[in-house]
């Protein structure tokens, strides 16, 4: 940045808007954001809808606009639907950072990505291939049918599988809507409709936990592999009892932490979202803005029996 | 312990008001055990309200209420029931989805272990009750679809099985036919003989004088008199009840009979009536007589178009009236004052003004819009023509007494300026004073050239008012009698003759 760092103190007023409230994933990112705000002495709040729909998110974006928030840090429920509201906020001088789930690039200044999509997709394909010996039928248990990030990963995984893993056949994709019960029941249905299923990939924390719970008490335990994205606290039990060999995730807390710093940098004018801009993100060190305003957190971590007890989130 | 040492039931100076409406001022009633006590009064005199106070449905605002000498104050109908009071309300209180047996024993079914209802015992008892009443009703069938008479029987069976010491019947005979009334009276007498105190409310004086031993008259929510039945006659009672002399009950004036206005040919509705032919001329009152259930209301409703029919034609002034289209029928000059005024005639929760104009809205609207001022002007005019007793036009229809409700319905239909008026049971549940007013009105209307088709179950009314009588039995026309031929015997004969013996 060109200005001295003193400019970032005091008036950085940051509003976090998660996909929905009551989601532990965003609870963790909230913690990270809060921590960062304390460090750079900004004010922080998290508001959001009770249901993960774009229209309910728009009301909260509008409110932040009215309040003249310094920056909105948001995980988008739709790449387009909240775009105009964000544009409106930017017109009023509010900076917009997306994290976790992006909007179209023109609606925000910076997207803090939990890992680049290719990396996530590749990691999950790698884990499932390892678990089933690179051969057999697999299925995907996703979140909502419209979730941007999920669909992108699924597309990339399909490509990766077709290109590099001819022995693995993706037979079905089902949607658990990030709802425990639905994900649980969908897992049961998957196993029945595909008797030869060898593995399930669930690239969502809610889905993988529900699927693990189903598998752990069913006849398929140990026979059908499960991997995907999950939090260590939710999955610890199933890794220990052998239902799940390994899974991956980045640290949502770090994600929130980094996003808050990115927001602060935007507010203070340290960065504008141009490719090549750099900023300090506290204990995470220096980050550089990539093409299309992308800021990558880093590669996801793989969790397994060996290391899972080292994490607590 | 029958109350030989005093009346079973005493109410003294009971008062009750609903908001600003004073229903009872100072009502008094003393009924002895082993007696059938008539309670008579004009519509709105407060009879039903008194009944509802006795049964605990309403709480009195003031006055005394003694049951077998002890002062009581029921807060719910359950309490009065437990104290031995059975009530047959003006409105039937059956549960249509439940079986007849369950209807009789609801809330006090015989139970066995674990509080399990003993269905067998209940059925046996129901059979016994019906045997005692001499009726054949399947105790297992649901109450839905029962005729009014059968519903009334079930109410009575309920009361008997309660072994009530006080039985109150609020206009139980209003919808019953001759022999059904007879049956009811027999039951009432049996109950009296077993020591029960019976209160009987009715507007039909012949029944009152035949059945009861004592008569209490009420007027305007207050007590007027109590006399043994053999010390008064109908005229005394009527005078006390109305508070003035009542003129002729059937003030039929001769009128000039003109062309046919309504012509019905071969009207048939499967299972209800068939091949009904009818004509009504202008200035003529045609009585449509028959037993309850003969299908008269159905014929009227089919003519007016609220019900459909399978065959036949209806013409007004020679022009065909389309089937199942009441709007068209109204436009062409048919008006129907239905039998059940509280359900079909009025919208109880709407005010007098809107009720009266509800059939003429179309003609009252200007450029498609309705203006309240026009509406009120028309309503005011018709309400005063019929002398509806109310202070303001926004009085709700439901708070009027039966007679005044009937006037509002009449106003509503007369305001459509019909060519032919079909009027179903014009004076059912209406007191004598108002009754003669309604009759005078019908007569005047006929004189003004209106054709009137009058359905009535009261023979004197038919004979007193009609120029011509058409008799319906089991859905078939069994006789058509001129005013001179129409004797009670001739009408009853035709009304009871079945189609088979007729054909």
């Amino acid at each position: 940045g060109s200005d001295d760092s003193g400019a970032s103190g005091g008036d950085a007023d940051i509003t976090f808007i998660p996909k929905n409230l009551g989601n532990p994933y965003f609870d963790a990112s909230n913690t990270g954001g809060q921590k960062a705000a304390k460090e750079f002495d900004g004010s922080f709040k998290q508001v959001g809808p009770t249901e993960a729909t774009p229209d309910s998110q728009v009301s909260f974006i509008n409110t932040a606009t009215q309040q003249g928030a310094g920056a909105i840090v948001i995980s988008a429920n739709d790449p387009k639907a909240i775009g105009d509201a964000l544009q409106e906020a930017r017109d009023a001088g509010t900076k917009v950072v997306t994290f976790d789930s992006d909007t179209d690039p023109e609606y925000r200044d910076v997207f803090v990505s939990q890992a680049d999509a290719e990396g996530i997709a590749a990691k999950q394909v790698e884990l499932i291939a390892k678990a089933i010996g690179d051969k057999g039928e697999v299925a995907i248990l996703s979140a909502a049918a419209n979730a941007t990030n999920q669909n992108e990963w699924i597309k990339l995984m399909e490509k990766d599988l077709a290109a590099n893993h001819p022995g693995i056949k993706l037979v079905d994709t089902v949607y658990g809507n990030d709802d425990d019960q639905t994900s649980f029941d969908k897992t049961a249905a998957l196993l029945q409709s595909h008797p030869n299923l060898k593995g399930i990939i669930s690239p969502t924390t809610v889905g993988i936990a529900a699927a693990a719970r189903y598998l752990s008490t069913s006849q398929y335990k140990g026979k059908v592999a499960l991997t995907g994205l999950g939090t260590p606290n939710q999955m610890r039990e199933y890794v220990k009892d052998g239902t799940v060999e390994s899974f991956a995730l980045w640290s949502p807390e770090d994600l929130g932490y980094l996003s808050a710093y990115a927001a602060d940098a935007l507010i203070s004018g340290d960065i504008t979202g141009e490719e090549g801009d750099t900023f300090e993100a506290g204990e995470l060190g220096e980050y550089t803005v990539g093409p299309d305003g992308l800021v990558g957190l880093g590669d996801p971590t793989e969790f397994n029996k060996g290391n899972i007890d080292d994490f607590d989130f | 312990m029958t109350g030989t040492d005093g009346p079973a039931l005493v109410l003294r100076d009971v008062a009750k008001s609903f908001g600003s409406v004073v229903a009872l001022r100072a009502a008094t009633l003393a009924v002895d055990a082993g007696s059938i006590h008539a309670l008579v009064g004009e519509n709105g005199a407060g009879k039903s309200t008194l009944v509802k106070i006795i049964s605990g449905l309403h709480r009195r605002d003031g006055g005394e209420f003694l049951l077998e000498g002890r002062s009581v104050d029921f807060r719910s109908t359950a309490e009065s029931k437990a104290a031995g009071i059975a009530v047959i309300y003006q409105e039937p209180t059956l549960f249509p989805d439940l079986s007849v047996t369950e209807n009789i024993f609801m809330g006090r079914q015989p139970t066995g272990r674990w509080g399990r209802i003993d269905r067998r015992a209940m059925n046996t008892e129901a059979h016994a009750l019906f045997e005692q009443l001499g009726v054949q009703i399947d105790p297992d069938r649901p109450a839905e679809g029962l005729s009014i008479a059968d519903q009334q029987i079930i109410e009575i069976a309920k009361a008997i099985s309660l072994q009530a010491r006080v039985l109150i019947m609020d206009e139980p005979t209003a919808a019953l036919s001759g022999n059904e009334v007879e049956r009811l009276m027999t039951v009432a007498r049996t109950l009296r003989d077993s020591g029960c105190a019976v209160v009987f409310i009715s507007h039909r004086f012949d029944e009152v004088f035949e059945l009861c031993d004592t008569i209490t008259v009420m007027r305007d929510g207050s007590y007027v008199s109590t006399d043994p039945v053999d010390q008064v006659d109908v005229d005394d009672v009527v005078r006390r009840l109305v508070g003035r002399e009542v003129g002729d009950l059937y003030p039929k004036q001769p009128s000039e009979i003109g062309d046919v206005v309504l012509e019905v040919k071969g009207l048939t509705s499967l299972g209800l009536f068939s091949d009904v032919d009818l004509t009504v001329r202008s200035g003529e009152i045609v009585g449509l007589a028959g037993l309850v259930g003969a299908g008269r209301s159905e014929v009227a409703q089919a003519i007016f178009g609220v019900d459909s029919y399978n065959a036949g034609t209806v013409h007004v002034d020679g022009r065909p009236v389309p089937a199942r289209n009441p709007v068209k029928a109204m436009e062409m000059g048919i008006a129907l004052v239905p039998e059940d005024r509280r359900r079909h005639g009025l919208v109880l929760e709407e005010d007098i003004s809107r009720n009266i104009t509800s059939a003429t809205r179309r003609s009252l609207s200007h450029g498609g819009l309705i203006w309240s001022a026009l509406e009120r002007r028309s309503a005011r005019q018709w309400a005063s023509r019929l002398e509806v007793k109310a202070s303001a036009l926004d009085t709700l229809g439901g708070t009027l007494s039966g007679g005044n409700q009937q006037k509002v319905v009449l106003a509503k239909w007369l305001s459509t300026e019909p060519r032919v008026l079909i009027i179903d049971e014009p004076t059912r549940g209406i007191d004598v004073g108002t009754k003669s007013e309604v009759h005078r009105l019908l007569s005047t209307l006929a004189q003004e050239g209106l054709g009137i088709l009058m359905i009535s179950s009261e023979l004197p009314e038919v004979l007193g008012m009609a120029d011509r009588v058409v008799v319906l039995s089991e859905g078939h026309v069994t006789a058509e009698l001129g005013r001179d031929e129409a004797t009670p015997e001739a009408v009853m004969h035709a009304a009871t003759s079945s189609q088979r013996e007729h054909a």
């Binding site: 409230l21 709040k45 508001v47 959001g48 809808p49 009770t50 249901e51 729909t53 774009p54 229209d55 309910s56 728009v58 009301s59 909260f60 509008n62 409110t63 606009t65 009215q66 309040q67 739709d78 790449p79 387009k80 639907a81 775009g83 105009d84 049918a145 419209n146 669909n151 949607y175 | 003031g62 609220v306 009441p326 709007v327 239905p338 359900r343 079909h344 005639g345 009025l346 919208v347 109880l348 929760e349 709407e350 509800s358 059939a359 809205r361 498609g368 819009l369 309705i370 203006w371 009120r376 005011r380 309400a383 005063s384 002398e387 509806v388 202070s391 303001a392 036009l393 009085t395 509503k412």
Partner: protein
């Protein structure tokens, strides 16, 4: 000749002591209080966002009012919004001119409403049950048609229209169709024979039939209108968010019904008026907006919506009960 007063109550009392007046008064109080106490609330942009957010509810509340006054209910409205939104999107995606696509979506909405009406009148089913069924059916078709995708390519001019402001002001353009439709529905309900029929049906279906009201036709018309207006809301929804999705407007039906009931419409039918309903919708919207600005969470807004709805229906009977008790006391002390 008998003379009758127009009313037993004085004119002023009739005007100011009723449900509609109470809702509108409450609305005024809440607005004034929020302007004074909630930061940013008095900005003119508040009104802009408020109206944009409330547009679908305001629109659907109009036919819903009439439907509920006849004693029926339509739970399928939000699903119809989604269905028309998705259909609009699919047609647009497949190259149908956008106006034609809108018209077809509107027609589908009307058809969906008419189907409800058909089941309620001709088959004689209770509307609560019917529309629970079509709630699932219409939403299911919407989700089925689009699957995982959302259609987000819309011509700029159209999406801007949904958010346009009138001139330089902060008043959104959509206010104009809302006002026009509100006036039309108010006239239909309060000043036409059709409207009288609607009330009569709600108070007594049978009596209405005997007075020459075509009960079935009236209901079919209302359900069709309900579907049509819901489809209109669906198109608005699509354009405002630039996104046709199967899960658009999830849960909106309960919000609409809550607002309508808060506005004084009786769930038993026969009672209610358009001004009160508009007041009810705005009241919920204003409270939610003020709470959000005051940084209350969405949960508090939910709780308050629920409590307000209950209070609005319980209050009259509570007041009645208090009145009756007092009257009884006065009477007994007079003795």
């Amino acid at each position: 000749m008998n003379t009758y007063a127009d009313s037993a109550r004085p004119l002023l009392m009739r005007l100011f002591v009723n449900r509609d007046a109470a809702v509108l008064l409450l609305l005024a109080v809440v607005v004034l209080y929020s302007m004074a106490a909630v930061p940013f609330f008095s900005n003119d942009i508040t009104l802009y966002f408020l109206l944009l957010d409330l547009t679908p509810i305001l629109l659907i509340a109009l036919p819903m009012t009439l439907v509920i006054i006849t004693g029926e209910i339509d739970l399928s409205v939000a699903s119809t919004v989604a269905l028309s939104s998705v259909l609009f999107g699919v047609l647009h995606r497949d190259g149908v001119p956008i106006l034609l696509a809108a018209v077809l979506a509107l027609l589908t909405g009307a058809l969906a409403g008419a189907f409800n009406g058909f089941l309620v009148t001709k088959v004689g089913l209770p509307s609560l049950a019917v529309t629970i069924g079509t709630l699932a059916l219409y939403r299911g078709i919407a989700v089925g048609l689009l699957g995982t995708t959302a259609i987000t390519e819309w011509p700029e001019g159209w999406t801007d229209l949904a958010k346009a402001k009138i001139g330089e002001s902060m008043v959104p353009l959509v206010l104009i169709p809302i006002v026009v439709l509100s006036v039309l529905f108010a006239i239909l309900l309060h000043f036409t024979t059709f409207g009288r029929g609607v009330y009569a049906i709600g108070l007594s279906k049978e009596a209405a039939r005997f007075s020459g009201v075509n009960v079935d036709r009236t209901k079919v018309v209302l359900f069709t209108l309900s579907g049509l207006v819901s489809a209109l809301a669906g198109i608005y929804f699509t354009l405002r968010y630039g996104s046709a999705r199967g899960d658009n407007a999830t849960g909106l039906e309960l919000q609409v019904i809550a607002a309508v009931l808060l506005g004084g419409v009786s769930i038993f039918g026969g009672k209610g008026a358009i001004p009160g309903v508009l007041g009810g919708v705005l009241l919920i919207g204003v409270i939610a907006s003020a709470l959000r600005l005051a940084d209350y969470s969405a949960n508090v807004i939910q709780i308050l919506t629920g409590v307000l709805l209950i209070a609005s229906v319980v209050a009259p009977s509570l007041l009645g009960w208090i009145g009756a008790t007092r009257q009884r006391k006065v009477k007994s002390s007079r003795k």
